[in-house]
Symmetry: C2
Subunit: 359 residues, 2 copies
């Protein structure tokens, strides 16, 4: 298969972890005889320092013209600490999501049994955790009208949702639940928010079309407790943009490191694959960032294109690195290896399991 | 001291846990020679079923005329599952907070070492946890304009904050940090939200007036991970209404039960004391709800009125119940006692430590 892949490394550790993902894809090309072409483009703080724009026109166009986008990370300290900055790195990511219509962020939270001691939670709680969060990604308070009055004494953000926005991701998530263990949990704050009540109404109506799926709703303040004390009860979690941001991050606590989890952001035309984690600027250039989340995002990408054997080969190589203890400093109980070394190890162990010469 | 106390039991387990708190206050009156008067009033689902209003005028007036309000809990399943209900129990609580100007919810998260095995988190992480969350309680998305269009296809909630709203709770929280370990952490999502940027700007400016307090800001998606993996780093956490709801609930995971933690909601004129937990309708009338959070809320109330010895006496009696394993089913590793029994035990063990006859 020929695939045009856009590489958006972004800020902080983004480019270095993405480089490891590309190594692995190159190994996939060679092993399985594919031809992927890679084109790099700037986004985020890096892009702002070039020409003042967090998402240059050329980068957006490249993404539109590509089959898939691999994304690194975004965000830089100098902007976090400057509430008055006019242009912000995150705008690049938010605009990209919006312009490409990537309305669903799909974030699997599944334990790697071999790493379960890495979690702060006890084994008996972590065991069997295997859920996926469907986070709405192009609506809600992230994108509603923002305002700040002239003397900067009053600010506002509007959280807005339409039935249509809710319905399209709801259908996606019910379909996923049907193929999985048949449970869907909607997270909202319907006892307070009007938008949550619309979510609850629309999703409850849609649930009638999926009688095989057990549907329930739960408040955001309750679900955070449930997720830490009984995560294996969840199968598919559906939620709006802001709650989804918080919940996916919390999900990484179960796994033990935010450096392991990937996400797919999909729309009707485009798809983007990236780690859960942020730009971790403190680690930039130190060769200590965990490349697994980024490498894992290629597994989601390969699956997206129906390349299941290839996806498996990458996943298996990642598992092998865990088994051999070839991991970065965020993973307990082994020697510590650099970002590069872990990337090389995984890329070197990508094999075609059907190929006799590998047995 | 004479105190007029309004008792708002509310829904679900609210009235039964509140009854235990009152038992303890009566023991305090007797032991320390005070005179408290108690007046009950309806709020929430109970009030709606009486006369259609979640907060009857008489209840509000009673609260205004009282020195303190003891609150139970609010919420009922029939409303949670009816997104189209016009009147909702929670409106009673939200209106009460607003009308009384209770702009700061103060929620201490402190481990009881003797119960530390009740937490899902390991002892080495739980150990030393002692922070307090200052949650803004009368602004933000809870109170901004809500709308739903006529054909119920578009909903919105406005999150709005003024400099003044931010400044008054910021000062309270900095003062608290000054008296405590001198650390203040502002939680926001300043990389996305305009209101968060105003919070960051205003609080950063105010931090200059408290040079003894170390001030830092952190994103909401990051803080949930930090809170589960390294909670002892926090001293005072300051945040807006919605994030505060989520964070305080998550704080209970560290403690091991949401049935243990109290909160004080304060304004310039009134103060209200209540458990963290909700109405837990499934447990109503079963005599299984943990009364400690409600009893603990009287400790905060007594402290609020400068009755430190009295507050201590209640806290000591609670500790004694833990030591003796006189706890409800949510607490691990002891026989299980009923709500009533635990309440009686604690009330019976409230003694004046200065009184020789008790030695
Ligand atoms: C960088 C930030 C804008 C982003 C978000 O909040 O969506 C990130 O936290 C994420 O979860 O993808
Ligand atoms: C009952 C509900 C409206 C309330 C809130 O969200 O504020 C509760 O969860 C709380 O934390 O006090």
């Amino acid at each position: 298969m020929n695939l045009k892949i856009a590489l958006l490394g972004g800020d902080g550790i983004g480019p270095e972890v993405l480089a490891q993902a590309v190594k692995c894809l190159k190994a996939v090309e060679e092993t399985f005889n594919h031809r992927f072409t890679y084109t790099e483009a700037p986004v985020g703080a890096v892009a702002i320092s070039n020409d003042g724009k967090a998402l240059p026109k050329e980068t957006l166009q490249l993404c539109k013209d590509s089959d898939a986008i691999l994304f690194g990370a975004i965000g830089a300290l100098e902007y976090d600490n400057d509430p008055e900055a006019k242009v912000r790195p995150e705008q690049g990511l938010l605009k990209l999501r919006k312009e490409l219509g990537l309305f669903a962020s799909i974030r699997p939270v599944k334990v790697f049994p071999i790493l379960s001691k890495n979690s702060v939670l006890p084994k008996k709680i972590v065991k069997g955790t295997d859920f996926v969060i469907y986070r709405e990604l192009t609506g809600g308070i992230y994108y509603g009208k923002k305002s700040l009055n002239d003397d900067a004494t009053l600010a506002s953000d509007l959280c807005e949702y339409s039935e249509k926005e809710i319905a399209r991701i709801a259908h996606l998530s019910f379909k996923a639940a049907k193929k999985r263990r048949g449970r869907l949990t909607l997270v909202d704050k319907a006892n307070v928010l009007e938008t949550s009540r619309l979510w609850r109404k629309v999703v409850t109506e849609i649930s009638d079309s999926y009688p095989e799926v057990h549907f329930e709703s739960i408040f955001i303040d309750n679900v955070v407790v449930q997720m830490m004390t009984n995560p294996s009860q969840f199968d598919v979690i559906l939620t709006e943009n802001m709650f989804g941001d918080i919940l996916t991050s919390l999900g990484s606590v179960i796994i033990g490191s935010i450096g392991l989890l990937p996400s797919a952001s999909v729309g009707s035309e485009n798809a983007m694959f990236s780690p859960f984690h942020g730009s971790y600027p403190q680690a930039k250039g130190k060769n200590i960032a965990n490349p697994v989340a980024s490498i894992f995002s290629t597994v989601l990408m390969l699956q997206h294109f129906g390349l299941y054997e290839e996806a498996n080969a990458v996943a298996t190589a990642i598992q092998k690195s865990f088994k051999k203890g070839i991991t970065t400093t965020d993973i307990l109980g082994s020697e510590k290896y650099g970002t590069d070394y872990v990337g090389d190890y995984i890329a070197d162990h990508i094999v075609d399991s059907d190929d006799d010469s590998n047995i």
